[in-house]
Amino acid sequence: MRKFVTLLLGIALALSVSAADAATPLRLATTTSTDNSGLLDVLLPQFKKATGISVHVIAVGTGKALRLGANGDVDVLLVHAPPAEMKYMHGGNGVNRRKVMYNDFVIVGPASDPAGIKGGKDAVKAFEAIAKHQATFVSRGDDSGTNKKELILWRDAHIKPQGKWYRAAGQGMGKVLQIAGELHAYTLTDRGTWLAYQDKVPLKILVQGDDRLFNPYHVIAVNPNKYPDVDYTGAMQFIAWLTSVPGQHAIRDYRLHGKQLFHPTAITKH
């Protein structure tokens, strides 16, 4: 009996040692859509090569990412929800906010397009049409950057979305696309997630190119005055690299399903 217990403990210890991490890594909170796009899988190894810093990525909804920053649980944020970010900055939670890149949102929906918005370039008009026809629309409903963008569009259309046709899923973008596919519904999605899912769901891009669908990304360091033992230097190195020439080129050169997804904005001349 004793031998068996010792063996078990030995296994446990061995496994635990193997999974431990050496130096203190930098903690980055970002959104699930950013993480799912695969960009970080390309950027972070390059960052590590340049600086020797490992990065731990915690991918959650925008609301939660900002919350983590406000609570001092991470060192740096990479998010894409400017109004929420401004509130965050005003709260004294972040410093050195820098623009990094942008991608865009698209409105997708069933090929049958009951609201007749296909080919349009005006997102607000599209939303008006969807509400008018009471065509099923699936919303993120999770306070994410995408969700916030969606709500701004409804506000600009002077519509309060409610009723059976408006479904708030409370899920990540991938799940929401799957749900929209199942329900033959419309939804707003970032292009990155769309590229990853376009072969998996029976939906099509119907509206794109509107300036209002612009999705800018910013990187923000967590305020070291508020949380003195946050890894501020590490965060600044991350910001420096992201906004440096090699970092910006890496962003520009990233391809998802053969298409460029992100457009660097930190340095104007490449």
């Binding site: 078990l8 403990l9 296994i11 446990a12 496994l15 635990s16 193997s18 999974a19 431990a20 991490d21 890594p25 903690r27 699930t32 799912n36 731990h56 990525v57 915690i58 991918a59 406000a70 609570n71 001092g72 649980d73 899920q171 990540g172 991938g174 799940k175 799957q178 990853a196 899912y197 998996k200 949380y227 946050v230």
Partner: protein, 233 residues
Amino acid sequence: MDELWHASYRAMVLLFSGNPGLWEIIGISFAVSLKAIVIATPAAFAAAFVLAYTRFRGRGLVMSVMNTALSLPAVVVGLTLYLLLSRSGPLGDLRLLFTQTAMTVGQVILAFPLVFVMSHSAIQAGQRSAWETALTLGASPPRAVLTVLYEVRFGLIAAVIAGFGRIVAEVGSSMMVGGNIAHFTRNIPTAIALETSKGEFAQGIALGFVLLVLAFGLNIVLTVMQRRGGIAS
């Protein structure tokens, strides 16, 4: 249906080709959960013994609390622990958030009530004369406790297996306090949640398969244990 078969096939390939990413996730799962059950078990046994063999005023209350704790959703434990461990929280200075240690703590909290309730049941089902016999034959109280526990060992083993089964499959706590960080705090259930939300069904199925095999194996052992426990008395 076609997609299911396709994904399952790719899942098997991933598993048996020794795909390191996959096995790393499995390793983290076992590291965290084994540690948690090793910590929770002796404490649960001791508490269960005390409750079965001593009389004190709050006894009924303790039982009620523990039985209620069985219904604690993992995500509630995770949220509470997050609030405690956050840098802005009371235990923030421990810097435990988003580490495997935090995940282990959450799982200890989840496992303890289950192991406690089941082992208490097993100990109570045992005969009190076992305790008295051990003492009268000259065993010291600690030795007598071990003897009593040994006599109901099949029930106790079942309790530990049940506890392990619960925590190795939980996602609510691990996700919250672990953060699902790749190569670090991503275990089987959090990985499944991530992969399926990305539509990566092959990975999700592969991991789910591991979990199912584990659960099935545990259940067989459990059944054998309990049957033997029935005969041995």
